[in-house]
Amino acid sequence: MEYPSNVKIIRVPCTGKVDALYLLKALESGVDGVYVAGCKEGDCHFLKGNIRARKRVGYVKQILQDVGINPERVAMYNLSAAEGPRFVEIAREFTAKIRALGPSPIKTGKGREIPVPGEAGTAEKKPEGAKKAA
């Protein structure tokens, strides 16, 4: 079981530790996409860590939307620690999705990735559905 070598893993004790700023800083550093892999909802050892993480991911998506960066570059996935094959599948799926989006505009400086008004807001809820595409 191999997952793409471009995926760099940053361990945290629980996704509840993932702050919005961690995701923003990662993007600032020039990565093309960031996803948070948390336990399944309802299975959090700390009860609500993954729920909080999901909300923070949503918050970061909104910020990206507002500054003109595709919010799809950030995502939240839920899987159990025992699901190795699913982990690989997610890593491949997210890599493919980001590869399709192309390099981050932070590196290229090519300007807005998404249209100006709220129309692009429809793209926001896609990560869940995008799983099925893999």
Partner: protein, 223 residues
């Protein structure tokens, strides 16, 4: 505390357009408690500003700093060594902080990153509600500890009005009728007759905003 919320990023970015070297100043007072302008929010907003600029191939230097308070000159002074090196200061304190910065540092613009909303408290994590309008002449002892100026949409002193229905206000079914709350509370305190039956006289609004900007002076504390 004073409750505020961040202005839309689009508006902030527009304000910053002419600048590429700014101070982003947070406040550890009220706005930090309501998660709008503390150290964490400074970090997030600074990052968002840099991302917005970098994606256009431009750069911006954001000096992140969070002052103890922005409503006291002694803390505002802490920016003294920095102000000369930057083109503008974006404050995510309440409107008081922005104005204190503007008064103290005359050579650079002070820009507001927050919309300051009201004096209130938290109802639950992530929800803040208004409780005081700073009218300068408190009547809470007469109204069961519920403020008619704030909680009644019309700020009536003798309510409720005809717009009160089933304990809700006519402006919005989710808004409780302030006067219904007052009556219920006075009833439970056994003070309905003693207090509610008395007509409250008209209020002297000169102690509120109607008297112009207000100043409180404590001679015993002045230097």
């Amino acid at each position: 505390m004073i409750i505020g919320h961040r202005k839309p990023l689009e508006e902030i970015l527009k304000m910053l357009e002419p600048h590429d070297k700014i101070i982003l100043a947070g406040c550890k007072g009220c706005v930090a408690v309501c998660n709008a302008g503390g150290e964490k929010e400074v970090g997030i907003l600074a990052s968002a500003i840099r991302l917005a600029r970098k994606k256009d191939g431009k750069d911006i230097e954001v000096k992140e700093i969070t002052l103890e308070r922005q409503c006291d000159p002694e803390y505002i002074d802490q920016l003294q060594s920095l102000a000369g090196d930057y083109q503008a200061v974006l404050s995510i304190a309440c409107g008081v902080g922005v104005q204190y910065l503007a008064e103290r540092y005359k050579s650079i613009p002070a820009l507001p990153g927050l919309n300051t909303d009201f004096m209130g408290g938290s109802r639950e994590q992530g929800v803040w509600v208004e409780r005081c309008q700073g009218c300068g002449n408190c009547v809470l002892h007469l109204t069961g500890g519920i403020c008619p100026i704030t909680r009644c949409s019309k700020s009536l002193l003798n309510g409720p009005c005809g717009g009160s229905s089933k304990g809700k206000c006519e402006i919005n079914p989710e808004v409780e009728c302030g006067w219904q709350l007052i009556i219920d509370r006075l009833k439970s305190l056994g003070l309905l007759e003693a207090l509610y039956e008395q007509i409250l006289p008209y209020k002297d609004w000169l102690t509120s905003r109607d008297g112009g900007p207000r100043t409180i002076t404590r001679e015993d504390m002045r230097e």
